[in-house]
């Protein structure tokens, strides 16, 4: 697994622990006390590192190549899943997936950006950057959900919508805009999770939700910190400064009332334990599904979502 720079010290402690364990297995010396002591130190260090991560470090975790992807989380969270393909207009976007899913007795439609874990799978998934047909597939599935009165769950994990010639030709802006409008009026609840990168309009295109939750080390930003830095400082390398300024962490986004709550990650980040991550998300889904089941009037669901976005904005008058 790729080791992040700030994890280095921690890793050397783990190496030491492993060496000692190997020693005590082959020899007659009892090293259990020594091992326990170092393990304790490692735990402390880990807590120390992860309690004061900088936005730039959180970005690294949110983009970690072993971070759980949408399809893997879907398989861990739901009891059953049938993937549905295509936008019925042009093609099937592999950067944005969706389908029917079941969790205990609840049936839902689930949609998510899809990244890969290595170069090959990332190219296959276009690095999680959808083309217009991805957003149109998402809309088709949301309309399907509405027709059969199924709640919609979305997993957000994209650097942004794909900036390409064909994407522009086929109306990337229109596709995203249409989703924003249609999602705002959808008569079934939409529950969204930012599981990694929430990149700008490409994230929002499946993120106009009744409830938005962010994984602890996920980010949500109007522009990539690199892009912001290259505009403001004419230097993409100053992205750490931009990352601070833009307020992109789960904590910041929740304080700004854009996200409703934070989903805890296992210590060290979701990439250390996919199962725990999935189970943390699952409890949020289950509790919200129970809550929304009690709302029989669909207008209440639409109004809740409308008012949430209507009230976002700070200005003087």
């Amino acid at each position: 697994m790729k080791v992040l720079d700030f994890e280095n010290k921690l890793l050397s402690l783990y190496d030491k622990i492993n060496q000692l364990k190997a020693l005590s297995e082959e020899g007659s010396i009892d090293l259990s006390k020594e091992i326990a002591r170092i393990e304790q130190r490692a735990e402390l260090l880990k807590k120390n590192i992860y309690s004061r991560l900088t936005p730039q470090q959180i970005i690294q975790i949110s983009r970690h190549q072993n971070r759980p992807d949408s399809l893997s989380l879907i398989n861990l969270i739901f009891d059953d899943f049938v993937e549905l393909h295509g936008d019925r207009l042009y093609g099937d976007d592999r950067a944005l997936i969706g389908g029917l899913a079941q969790i205990q007795q609840e049936r839902v439609v689930v949609i998510g950006h899809q990244k890969g874990h290595d170069t090959r799978s990332n190219i296959d998934r276009n690095f999680g950057m959808p083309n217009p047909e991805g957003y149109r597939k998402a809309l088709r599935l949301m309309k399907l959900a509405e027709k059969f009165n199924l709640p919609v769950i979305t997993f957000i994990d994209t650097p942004g919508a794909f900036p390409g010639i064909e994407a522009e030709e086929r109306g990337q802006a229109e596709a995203i805009a249409r989703n924003l409008k249609e999602m705002s009026a959808l008569s079934v609840p939409i529950i969204s999770f930012i599981i990694g990168e929430g990149g700008s309009g490409g994230a929002l295109g499946i993120g106009v939700a009744n409830k938005l939750y962010m994984l602890e080390y996920s980010i949500y930003s109007v522009i990539t910190p690199e892009g912001c830095a290259s505009i403001l400082f004419r230097d993409a390398k100053k992205s750490d400064i931009a990352a601070e300024l833009l307020k992109i962490t789960a904590k910041d986004i929740t304080e700004l009332n854009v996200a409703d709550d934070i989903v805890k990650e296992p210590l060290g980040g979701a990439h250390h334990n996919w199962e725990v991550t999935a189970s943390n998300i699952k409890s949020f889904i289950l509790s919200d599904l129970q809550k929304y089941k009690k709302i029989k009037n669909n207008k209440v669901i639409i109004e809740e979502r409308y008012n949430k976005f209507r009230n976002l904005g700070q200005f003087s008058n």
Partner: protein, 305 residues
């Protein structure tokens, strides 16, 4: 999406801006597109469109009002809403300072002005974006004013006409600026339910968060010739795919060819086109009442006599 796509190639354009030649009385301007020297009065008489190459100069809101709306019919709404630096954003300059100098430069408090006005005696709700104000970027204020405009229209039932010109979201307001995309788009869904017509006039440039929200959601999409209309800016695309972009890529005519907009209309014809479209979209019973009042060129009115 980046405003940077705009500045280095063509500076913010206005005949009264910094493209004056140092000739006494500022009688001449140079066209940004073809470099032709044009007599300022000729340019103004031609709706600020280059006589040589048809380049549509960017307009101030005042110029836009004078070209499109009936004389003295414009009434501004929400003129006093202003941005605040709620993230305490400071890059090479403080956001508050940037706002102050944009306000001074444009004599407007924000990047959009909204209000009601008349086009051939038909009342409309209108928003005019101002690229000269921080690249026409959308933050809380633009989002709020545009949303209020749609809400007004749901109540008063007059059509909405918005002239867009914007580099996208205002990054100095972080995630809150992104949320304005959802907020304005949601307001349009209420407008649709109320069957109030919404016409977008896409002006140069309309990109990023603005194009990917309320700009592309008009019932009718009209573009000015040559306007850049895109999601991602040309420079970002070039950097991503590492190949040269095709000629005329993301220009109004390119979008027309790809089925993304209804028409490309010369500024000279814009008022007449808007007037016709509005007349044809307003529900029939309302239209009949209105037609009694419309003067001049309407043929149906003559029949009704």
């Amino acid at each position: 999406m980046s405003i940077l796509d705009w500045f280095p190639k063509k500076k913010a354009v206005s005949a009264s801006g910094n493209n004056k030649l140092s000739i006494p009385n500022d009688l001449w301007v140079k066209c940004f597109c073809c470099n032709k020297i044009i007599y300022l009065k000729d340019l103004n008489d031609n709706f600020k469109v280059c006589l040589k190459c048809n380049y549509h100069f960017r307009l101030t809101p005042e110029e836009r009002i004078s070209y499109i709306f009936d004389k003295n019919s414009y009434n501004e709404t929400n003129p006093n809403i202003e941005s605040v630096n709620f993230l305490d954003f400071k890059d090479t300059r403080n956001y508050s300072e940037r706002l102050a100098s944009a306000q001074k430069k444009t004599s407007h408090k924000s990047a959009v002005i909204t209000g009601t006005a008349k086009i051939d005696k038909q009342t409309v709700n209108t928003g005019i974006m101002n690229f000269a104000f921080l690249g026409g970027s959308m933050g809380s204020v633009v989002g709020e004013k545009i949303t209020c405009l749609f809400e007004d229209a749901v109540k008063n039932k007059y059509p909405v006409v918005i002239f867009t010109s914007s580099g996208g979201a205002r990054m100095q307001e972080g995630i809150i600026s992104l949320m304005q995309m959802a907020k304005t788009s949601a307001a349009i869904s209420k407008l649709s339910e109320a069957s109030v017509p919404y016409i977008t006039v896409l002006c140069d440039p309309t990109t990023g968060g603005t194009s990917a929200s309320f700009a592309m959601l008009g019932d009718i999409l009209i573009a000015e010739p040559g306007a850049l209309i895109s999601f991602a800016g040309p420079r970002v695309i070039e950097q991503t795919i590492r190949q040269k972009l095709p000629e005329g890529f993301q220009r109004a005519e390119f979008l027309l060819k790809h089925g993304m907009i209804d028409c490309v209309t010369h500024r000279k014809e814009l008022k007449a086109t808007l007037s016709k479209v509005i007349t044809m979209l307003i529900p029939y019973n309302k239209k009949v009442n209105k037609l009694q009042k419309i003067s001049g060129k309407n043929i149906k009115k003559d029949i009704s006599k």
